[in-house]
């Protein structure tokens, strides 16, 4: 098979000296061709035995790798079209680099390759956030970097340990401490609770083009790693179920469009993590399928949200309204994404989410928790957001900027894919690892899903007044724990500074007195005071460790 990075490796140095439109056009053409090549399983007409063969051609590609790589190439092509009007060449280049590194992670053949691409992907995503508009993007980017440095550090330890102990780079259960480090890193990147706050902090701060790319690659690459390295790790079931419900509940409270969608990434990744934890063939296939479908509809939702921000210049639901008339195409594409994420039949979310829920039926509590999370998803993304943004006539004090055609085309292509995969699920199922024994258009499944969604619609109609968006901020793990901890740390540092200033002043006056009385004794007394202080610190440290 052709390694996507091989062509881009040649193209990237040229990109640095090229015009932005040329970069985007080339990326679009090359990634579309590669996507077709992977889909139709073409390979190079010659064999390569160079210095680094895995970078040019891959012989042993597993179906899971092929599935993720093809989807990533598709999104890279559409994102290149969507960002056609971007005015920042550096941002476009970083976005392409980020996507390529994510492709590198999923096609990695050994630990070192996996680690290097993973770290480069995280670094590129930090720059995408950091390049966002406004000062808040810089601070959000730094907070993002702190989280991912922690994850990257954990991965480094895990990978180094795995290499030292010759752990295989393949599927397997947890039997070595190195795997726990790798798991921890994957959980941070997958935005698992309580390490999810970077996602709602960073994604809304990136540019409208950057957030589309970010919404696709970081969390889904972690889901790939979880499917590959930790299938059947039982604690993931509980973590995933909690994430699914937690994200949906926080999304119901949120007022900012892109933050609401970010919370929904947490919720949807929860479904995938749950599937990984269950570890059955159907659940693993469901997780992989849901990751692919999520990439499609989430990129469409972020594209639509970006289009609203581009046209109106606002992204708070409380300051928007009646956009359906001003931006009918955006409304149409947003609704395709919304019904897909909500699991409507004939859209891609239905064919993948129902696999995970079906697999979750081995535990009744789990199946109903995931169904409750689906209710929350439809309520917030499918009903609350479109009703107050596109339908309700509460704000009309805006003059929409015309949308570039490139944005509409990109959204149309992704929307079409959501529909095609929903109507012809075998297109997706035939590319999953193993044989899929699941029929989404079984009458019972179809009718129960439609009746569940109907019940939610009725519930929203009765209680929609209570979901009216308001300009309020809500506590999350970062504001409840991390920000107070940071404040306390700042106070401790300030107190230490005061103590230091006081000690210096005292020392100075003592020295002056000593030097005037007996200059020779001054140095030795000062040395003994420092030694005493070091001894006290050592004793306290030992006591702390022993206790």
């Amino acid at each position: 098979m052709i390694h996507p990075l091989s062509l881009f490796l040649i193209l990237f140095p040229v990109f640095l000296f090229s015009k932005q439109k040329w970069i985007q056009a080339t990326t679009m053409v090359v990634s579309t061709l590669l996507c077709f090549a992977w889909f139709l399983e073409w390979s190079w007409p010659f064999s390569w035995h160079g210095f680094f063969p895995s970078l040019f051609a891959i012989d042993s590609v597993q179906p899971l790798q092929k599935l993720f790589a093809t989807t990533y190439l598709f999104v890279l092509a559409t994102a290149s079209v969507y960002s056609w009007t971007s005015s920042h060449k550096s941002e476009v280049l970083t976005m392409i680099f980020h996507a390529l590194m994510a492709i590198g992670v999923v096609l990695a053949q050994h630990w070192i390759e996996f680690f290097v691409y993973w770290e480069l992907m995280s670094l590129a995503s930090f720059f995408i956030v950091w390049m966002g508009p406004g000062k808040s993007a810089k601070s959000a980017g730094l907070r993002y970097l702190i989280y991912h440095s922690l994850g990257g550090g954990m991965l480094m330890v895990g990978v180094a340990w795995a290499i030292r102990d010759h752990l295989p780079f393949s599927y397997g259960s947890i039997h070595h401490p190195a795997q726990l480090f790798i798991l921890f890193s994957c959980l941070i990147n997958a935005a698992c609770f309580p390490f999810h706050t970077w996602i709602k902090d960073a994604y809304p701060k990136a540019s409208i083009f950057g957030s589309v790319i970010l919404s696709v690659f970081v969390t889904k690459t972690s889901v790939y790693a979880l499917i590959r390295f930790f299938p059947g790790f039982a604690p993931l079931v509980v973590i995933g179920a909690f994430m699914a419900l937690f994200g949906a509940i926080y999304a119901l409270m949120e007022n900012n469009i892109r933050r609401l969608l970010s919370y929904h990434i947490v919720s949807q990744v929860g479904f995938m993590v749950c599937g990984v934890g269950l570890g059955t063939t159907l659940s693993l296939q469901g997780s992989a399928a849901h990751a692919v479908c999520h990439i499609l509809y989430k990129s469409l939702l972020f594209m639509s949200a970006g289009a609203v921000v581009h046209a109106i210049g606002r992204e708070k639901i409380s300051s928007l309204g009646n956009l359906g008339k001003a931006l009918p195409w955006v409304f149409c594409f947003y609704m395709i994404g919304a019904v897909s994420i909500s699991g409507f039949p004939f859209f891609n979310g239905y064919v993948s989410k129902s696999m995970v829920i079906e697999a979750a039926h081995q535990y009744a509590w789990l199946a109903w928790t995931l169904k409750a999370a689906s209710v929350g998803t439809f309520l917030s993304v499918g009903l609350k957001l479109p009703y107050y943004t596109f339908i309700k006539n509460n704000h009309t004090d805006y003059q929409p900027t015309p949308l570039p055609r490139s944005m509409i085309i990109a959204m149309a292509v992704v929307g079409l894919m959501c529909f095609v995969v929903g109507v012809f699920p075998d297109l997706l199922y035939s590319r999953l690892p193993g044989v899929v024994d699941f029929h989404p258009y079984d009458w019972e499944l179809f009718l129960t899903d439609v009746s569940l969604l109907g019940g939610v619609g009725l519930g929203f109609w009765i209680a929609k007044i209570w979901l009216t968006p308001s300009n309020q901020g809500y506590e999350d793990v970062d504001t409840l724990i991390l920000f107070p901890l940071a404040k306390a740390g700042k106070k401790i540092v300030n107190a230490l500074k005061h103590i230091n200033t006081w000690m210096l002043a005292t020392e100075k006056s003592t020295y002056q007195k000593m030097i005037s009385d007996s200059p020779s004794d001054a140095k030795s007394i000062s040395f003994s005071i420092y030694m005493l202080l070091i001894m006290v610190c050592l004793l306290l440290g030992m006591m702390f460790i022993l206790l």
């Binding site: 409270m253 569940l452 019940g455 009725l458 929203f460 309020q472």
Partner: protein, 40 residues
């Protein structure tokens, strides 16, 4: 038919339950005034 009613009822009750939980319990508890000033 029974399953359809169960699922319809679950959808209805869960959506109302989540709305009430969010509006009357979580929103008042988790409201953060400093974030409001930051946001605006």
């Amino acid at each position: 038919m029974k399953n359809i009613l169960i699922y319809f009822g679950f959808g209805w009750v869960a959506s109302l339950g989540l709305t009430i939980l969010v509006r009357f319990l979580l929103k008042p508890i988790l409201r953060n005034r400093s974030l409001e000033s930051e946001e605006s």
